[in-house]
């Protein structure tokens, strides 16, 4: 939650100090997510560099709001990382879609859903639960969430009707939700 006094204090801080603070607080989450998606250290470092540069260029007002900044950084990391893996993929031979589509951004949470930074313990529970999901649900979630496939692309990739992939994603996410709500 944002503390007004803190905000007024940091508002007068030097942006490079704010950036250093933001980097120290969030770099590991950003780098880890990038590594998970691109599986390559050089690419993950380049993405981390780009994401923090963008935060300074475009989102300076967020540098003082850590939860909101964390979500922005991670969303941007996901998009950049998906872009990176797509740019390295060979041209799909199906011919049914453009070779390089823009990554669809994740929804922006509304007012009453301030994104919060998870404790490492909760994050690791969620990770474990994701790995425990039935293979088909895990695959569907990974493909859309970490490779950026839309439902139509997902159905094509898996060779299943859209209704099936839709329910796999939903069932998987609902199971993961139990992990979060049963804490």
């Amino acid at each position: 939650m944002v503390d007004l006094d803190t905000l007024e204090h940091v508002a007068d801080s030097d942006p490079s100090t704010l950036l250093a603070e933001a980097y120290d607080r969030h770099h590991q989450a950003v780098f880890s997510l990038a590594m998970m998606i691109v599986q390559n250290q050089d690419d993950a470092e380049a993405i981390t560099l780009e994401v923090f540069s963008r935060a300074v260029r475009e989102e300076q007002n967020r540098l003082t709001r850590h939860d909101s900044l964390a979500y922005w950084l991670l969303r941007t990391t996901r998009n950049q990382a998906i872009d990176k893996i797509r740019s390295k993929q060979p041209t799909p031979d199906s011919g049914s879609q453009p070779t390089h589509q823009a990554v669809v951004d994740l929804p922006i949470p509304a007012a009453d859903l301030e994104p919060t930074v998870m404790l490492e313990e909760s994050a690791s529970k969620l990770r474990a639960k994701l790995n425990d999901l039935p293979q088909s649900q895990q695959e569907a979630i990974r493909l859309c969430y970490f490779e950026g496939l839309t439902q139509t692309q997902l159905a094509e990739r898996l060779g299943e009707p859209r209704s099936i992939v839709k329910s796999r994603v939903r069932s998987g996410l609902l199971t993961l939700l139990e992990t979060l709500t049963h804490e």
């Binding site: 007004l4 590991q28 540069s53 949470p109 007012a111 930074v117 209704s163 996410l173």
Partner: protein, 292 residues
């Protein structure tokens, strides 16, 4: 919203939260979120999961040299201006937005004008009030929140809402513009029949097979029914999707155009049981014929 109104959107909350809807589907689903409490609740719950997933990667520590690279490369780009201050004293009630960096939001009149310049035939004219409605609903919420500013929670909410409003405006506008200005986009208009004289609809499609129907002026449905769209196939009508209008009579769906159908073909919208039927049984509410 009645249960039947939700039906075509069943399961989409999860795909939306997981980022698995394309831009156009997102626009359509957000319009549904305006009127479906159930979907709003599901999106809220599942967003906790999808936000959490971003943090669920196995922790890996980058090289320590990365810190300097980031700080050095970005320090060069940091403007000298101070970070924006969210000061309580700057927040005013009324139409003005909360303090913070000025957002470059085009005034509705300006972007509506832009749309009209681009879409000369006014095809999108029906959709603009809809977008305007969503934006003004967010603006209303802003004003309500601003009138009660006794806690930092409120301030946070206002800031988030403002961001949501700005993002909605640009995303929605971009999605509509991209739909209507895509190269090679083709369209077929459907006109209201005696059962729905004020209704109209346009089906857009591209060579890549993407297709969307936007309809307005649809009469409310009896409970348990939905509108069903039909494409004229060689062996008879082929169902291309079910839809429910919102309270204002607007509806939008992504179509499934089977490979066997080469657009443009005749299209019709009938009212059918919510489970959908394989052949039309109800009256035709809208009809469109390709020009020979």
């Amino acid at each position: 919203m009645s249960k039947s109104g939700h039906e075509p959107f069943d399961g989409l909350a999860a795909l939306y939260a997981a980022g698995a809807l394309n831009k156009r589907e997102q626009v359509i689903f957000r319009a549904h979120l305006e009127v479906c409490r159930g979907c709003v609740q599901e999106v809220k719950s599942l967003l906790q999961v999808t936000q959490g997933l971003l943090q669920a990667a196995i922790p890996v520590v980058p090289a320590t040299s990365l810190r300097n690279r980031v700080l050095n490369s970005t320090t060069r780009t940091i403007p000298h201006a101070k970070a924006p201050a969210y000061r309580k004293s700057k927040i005013k009630t009324g139409q003005q937005t909360a303090a913070g960096p000025p957002r470059q939001r085009p005034q509705p009149t300006i972007w509506i004008a832009t749309l009209f310049v681009i879409v000369t035939a006014g095809i999108a004219a029906w959709y603009i009030p809809k977008l305007d409605h969503q934006i003004s609903s967010l603006q209303r919420q802003l004003v309500e929140l601003q009138s009660d500013l006794d806690s930092s929670t409120r301030l946070t909410q206002i800031l988030e809402l403002e961001i949501a409003a700005a993002d909605l405006e640009t995303d929605e506008l971009r999605a509509v513009l991209s739909l209507l200005t895509t190269q090679n986009v083709q369209q077929l208009a459907l006109t209201g029949q005696p059962r729905a004289p004020r209704a109209s609809a346009v089906v857009f499609w591209t060579d890549s097979g993407d297709s969307t129907l936007l309809a307005s002026g649809l009469p409310p449905l009896p409970i348990g029914d939905l509108y069903q769209l039909w494409l004229g196939g060689l062996d008879g009508p082929i169902s291309a999707g079910l839809m429910a209008p919102d309270e204002d009579g607007y509806a939008a769906i992504s179509l499934t155009v089977p490979d066997s159908v080469t657009m443009p073909v005749a299209m019709a919208i009938t009212v059918e049981p919510a489970s959908g039927v394989t052949m039309p049984t109800g009256d035709i509410y809208l009809l469109g014929q390709p020009t020979p």
